[in-house]
């Protein structure tokens, strides 16, 4: 198990909070809450050690396309593939944007 932290530039704080997923095999739980203006802070607790670079790449790819709202994101990962991580994050981001 490893705990990782990431920060990315962001827009104004999100208005709501949202969650998606579950700490089950091959899945993860993401919790999104409004963060400090201009900052997207992500804390990942993952069962897979040595995966920091993979998370970094995934987040960079996701947030390069469009500036995310300022959020504090908590991730509890139980061996999710990058595809599932992205799906869960997008699911929760969608909810924060329209919920």
């Amino acid at each position: 198990m490893e705990t990782l932290s990431f920060e990315f530039p962001a827009g104004p704080p999100a208005r709501g909070r949202a969650m998606a997923g579950c700490v089950g095999s091959g899945d993860l739980e993401v919790l999104l809450e409004p963060g400090r203006a201009g900052t997207l802070a992500i804390r990942v607790i993952t069962s897979v050690n040595g995966s920091a670079q993979r998370w970094q790449n995934l987040f960079e790819r996701m947030f390069r396309e469009q500036t995310p709202p300022a959020l504090s994101i908590d991730i509890h990962d139980f061996g999710a593939t990058p595809g599932v991580v992205r799906l869960r994050l997008e699911q929760a981001l969608e909810e924060v944007a329209h919920g």
Binding site: R17, M19, C22, G24, E33, I45, S47, H76
Partner: protein, 283 residues
């Protein structure tokens, strides 16, 4: 042939997560979660053992209503650590039931629904989980004197260990075909009794002895329900309206003990002989 139209219409309850299950059973719009995941009351023990925790510790507790009547619902998430109950998740259920008891003492007729999807105590939290399960059991026994406590075992995990005793204490118990209910899980029995007697990989055999259909046919479950959200919601309401049973199953223990004492354990048990123990001529 399968009724395709009916299949397409039905919504699986088994496939829902704990929070969706709780929401689906309560009256629309009445769901209000207590200690939601953003409160971050999670297990303090798992991370120290290198296991990723879940923000709600795998237990969703909510207040709401059933047919307008005050209801507390606790749903265990079977996908997180096999639905195991540790200190926090266990205390959430026990605390919710104790608040419902308090409600009833104040004249508020709060009933309880327990969505049981659990292998029992979380071994990583050992005694703390066991203590919480004992508190849950005590609270069920007290609450059921006021209002019904309705247990639902939907599957796919089933309900085992100390929580199978909690299931047995409920005023009413519902099970689907997917559900299994037993004190020990199949692997534990195989390890203790030997593979000749109990092969945990023989799924038809396991379900024939511990599956929802068998438990219903044996009278250990009050309703055998299809895996469908509407059906399960309707059945839970039916039992909620019935109020308390005249005599809870667990209070008929003397009758059960007498039947079990007459069972010939020297022969391999099968579905038929087990049903006879509980329903017909046990000899």
């Amino acid at each position: 042939m399968a009724d395709t139209a009916a299949l397409l219409r039905s919504r699986s309850f088994v496939e829902l997560g704990a929070r969706q299950r709780a929401r689906a059973l309560l009256d629309a719009g009445s769901f209000r979660e207590l200690l939601d995941p953003f409160e971050r009351v999670e297990s303090p023990w798992l991370a120290r053992q290198g296991i990723v925790p879940q923000a709600d510790d795998g237990v969703v507790v909510a207040k709401g209503s059933l047919d307008g009547e005050p209801t507390v619902i606790a749903a265990i998430e079977g996908s997180f650590q096999g639905g195991s109950l540790g200190e926090v998740g266990g205390a959430k259920i026990a605390g919710a039931l104790e608040l419902a008891i308090e409600d009833n003492r104040q004249g508020i007729p709060t009933r309880a629904v327990l969505l049981l999807e659990t292998g029992g105590v979380r071994l990583q939290e050992a005694n703390l989980g066991l203590a919480a399960i004992a508190e849950i059991q005590a609270a069920i026994v007290e609450l059921r004197q006021f209002q019904p406590v309705i247990g639902v075992v939907a599957g796919p995990v089933g309900c085992f260990g100390g929580m199978s005793i909690a299931a047995g204490l409920c005023s009413y118990l519902l099970a689907t075909r997917e559900a299994r209910l037993g004190l020990n899980g199949p692997q534990v029995i195989e390890q203790e009794a030997g593979i000749e007697e109990y092969d945990s990989r023989d799924r038809p055999f396991i379900w024939s002895l511990t599956g929802g259909e068998q438990r219903f046919a044996s009278g250990l479950v009050d309703a055998y329900v299809a895996d469908d959200v509407e059906t399960i919601a309707a059945e839970v309401r039916r039992f909620s309206r019935l109020g308390r049973p005249d005599l809870e199953r667990s209070r008929r223990y003397a009758w059960y003990l007498e039947r079990l004492a007459r069972f010939d354990a020297s022969r391999q048990a099968n579905a038929e002989s087990v049903r006879r123990v509980y329903q017909g001529d046990p000899t």
